[in-house]
Symmetry: C2
Subunit: 184 residues, 2 copies
């Protein structure tokens, strides 16, 4: 599991993410990744013996990064009601990047085989379970989770219809709902 030469692997993963974003999913080719990483195809395939392994690693990397990001925010939200949901929201707000910076690797993986997203599904399920476990109003947390996923996924797919002020309003409203949530 531990890479012997982490620099190559990391470089490749970064290049792969860039290719997925720029070339578009569906044009995610090994040649493109190798070229982008400043590497020959042989070198690429030495590090990732198949395209599937590369996509798997890309999904894995994204999850690890996101998890780290989430726990960074945990401190700020600690003690507040619905702390985890508030962190999830805060991460999403602060990652409000334009479409060119989305983790398109997830989509490239999906295009190859939907089952590559199973780790994401497990992570989301676990996060949701933790979020509702301590919630004063679990149903409100469900709605908030869905809204946040709505924000994240519309962004990922380039289907984000909210303008900047609407997004800000949505974030604020969600924060308020989470902070004030009591069973209806």
């Amino acid at each position: 599991m531990a890479p012997r030469r982490p620099s190559s692997r990391a470089k490749i993963l970064k290049a792969a993410a860039a290719v997925a974003r720029e070339a578009g999913i569906g044009h995610f080719s090994l040649d493109a990744v190798a070229a982008r990483a400043g590497l020959s195809k042989g070198g690429l395939l030495y590090n990732f013996p198949t395209k599937s392994k590369l996509l798997e690693a890309l999904v894995e990397e994204h999850l690890v990064e996101f998890e780290a990001e989430l726990s960074n925010y945990a401190a700020c939200s600690a003690g507040r009601p619905n702390a985890l949901a508030a962190s999830f929201l805060a991460v999403t707000r602060d990652q409000d990047y334009p479409q060119e910076q989305q983790p398109a690797g997830l989509l490239a993986a999906l295009a190859k085989d939907p089952s590559f997203l199973e780790p994401v599904l497990r992570f989301n399920r676990q996060t949701l379970t933790r979020m509702t476990a301590t919630a004063s109003d679990p149903h409100m947390v469900l709605v908030a989770f869905l809204a946040i996923e709505g924000l994240r996924l519309t962004r990922l797919l380039g289907l984000d219809v909210l303008d900047a002020s609407e997004r800000a309003a949505a974030y604020a409203k969600l924060e308020a709902l989470l902070a004030a949530s009591t069973p209806a």
Copy 2:
């Protein structure tokens, strides 16, 4: 615009949707669509001169169907607060199909070229504008819209983590929030 022989076009579009669902996006090939439609590739390309045109039509068809569905529900919601949002929610609830019945053609189109989803973006933008225009609490409607999109997109991508009872609870909570919404 009006097809001279609608039967072939309709048959092909149906087959294309089926192929997108069953073969998975990324394996959406013209040969597969032609075979599924009981047609030669030549015949397919007679009706849709390029793959792009086919995907375009697939997206268009989906939007038309969804729009019709939405206006079917408009009557039921008429008069209620946030009528359009309520309809949008109701359609989403009643289309709570398993993942095998999702409009995967949208993803196939996305894989080929993200700009194929622009009509969807326009439609969503328009729907959201109409939803907020008459809302007593526009920010609540924003949140509801995002939550519904969350439901729809997680479903589409196979990332739906809610179990049946949670989904039911989420639908109910959203209905309640929309029905009772007054400015916070």
